[in-house]
Amino acid sequence: MEAVEWLLAGAVAGVIGAGAAAFVAHRWRMAQATAHWRALTKTHDEALEQALERERLAVASKEEGGESNDEALAELTARLTQAEQDLEVARKSEAAVLEAKGLWQGEAERIAAEAARLRGLAATFERWHEQMTSLMTQNQDMHAKNHELSSIVRHVLIVSLNASIEAARAGTAGRGFGIVASEVRALATRSEELSKSYRDSLHRNDVTTTATFQDIQAGGKMIAASLSSVESLAQQLHSRLH
């Protein structure tokens, strides 16, 4: 009996020991689990705290960014308004420039047309040249007539000389005839001088006429060349404005 009691007591003691050991083990494991849970909770709290901080920072940053965006938007709006105003001014300026360009084009066209029209002056210069030729022909005709007159006067001079000789031969009877012959010779001499003077005048007239009309002709060419130059410049200006 004693053995059985002992055995029972041992068994009870064993059960109690095992129970105690199991309790201790359970308590230790519980303690470990609690510690682990606490650590996890702490970690979680920390993470949550960090997340909250980040969120707070993000919200603050967002608020700050929102303000900055508002400022930028206001600035951009102001710039846009300015740009629109500038564009309007530029459009007006462009319109004014286009209007002025149109006017200049018109002016350049008018100058070119005027220069082209004035080149018709060449016909006027040509007419003057023809008149000069006509005048010079008349001068030559007068030269020829004066030459003829001169030869007649020379002939009269010889005739009057012969008459004087014949009058001298006739003696007293030819005295009156001698006086007439002498008068005729004097008149012929004066006519010869007049003819020489007239020839001189005709030569002077030739120089004046030729020099004047050549000056007109050359001046006309000079004007025509200058007008061509003006016309060309006006056309170049017109092409550039186009």
């Binding site: 040249h129 010079m136 030269h143 020839r199 001189d200 030569h203 002077r204 030739d206 120089v207 004046t208 030729t210 020099a211 009309f213 050549q214 000056d215 002709q217 050359a218 001046g219 006309g220 060419k221 000079m222 004007i223 025509a224 060349a225 200058s226």
Partner: protein
Amino acid sequence: MISAHARDSFERILTKAARTRLPRTPDASCDIVRLNVRQPGSAAMDTDVDLVARHANVVVLTISSIDFRMLLVLHFDEDDVTTRYFVGDDQDKPFREVFLEISNLCCGAINQELLGHFPDLGMSTPYVLSAHCVPHLMQLKPNHLASWDITLDGSVRLAATLCVCAHAPLDFNAELSETQDSSGELELF
């Protein structure tokens, strides 16, 4: 009215044009000698030349500008030597026509040189006058008058007179190249 430089330039331009345009070929001889011309109404020197007595006719050409006009007067005779020199074998062409063409080329060369100094220039067509007209050039009141004796091939005798009438002070200095250019040959009449 006309500066010494301008006078010298006109003379050099004329003598160069005569030397390059009047001879029949570029290498033909051309002697140009300055003449003292007897002027009507002035005291005559023994060395003075009476150009009216030396040549029968003249060709007159004018170059006009805004400030001046210049007359080129080429004195010539229609003798056999001169006619043969200029007409050559081409007997179909009248001497006057050939000589007027050559005179025009000569004046065209002067015009071309002057264009470098005066932008507005015009040239007349040539006209033949009696040499008796030459003394009357004085009535144009020239500011510069000069003459040269020109001998081509040692036998053909010509003369040239330059008459410049200025309406404003004239001053320029022409720098001429010695080479013969072909400019001025398109001056037709």
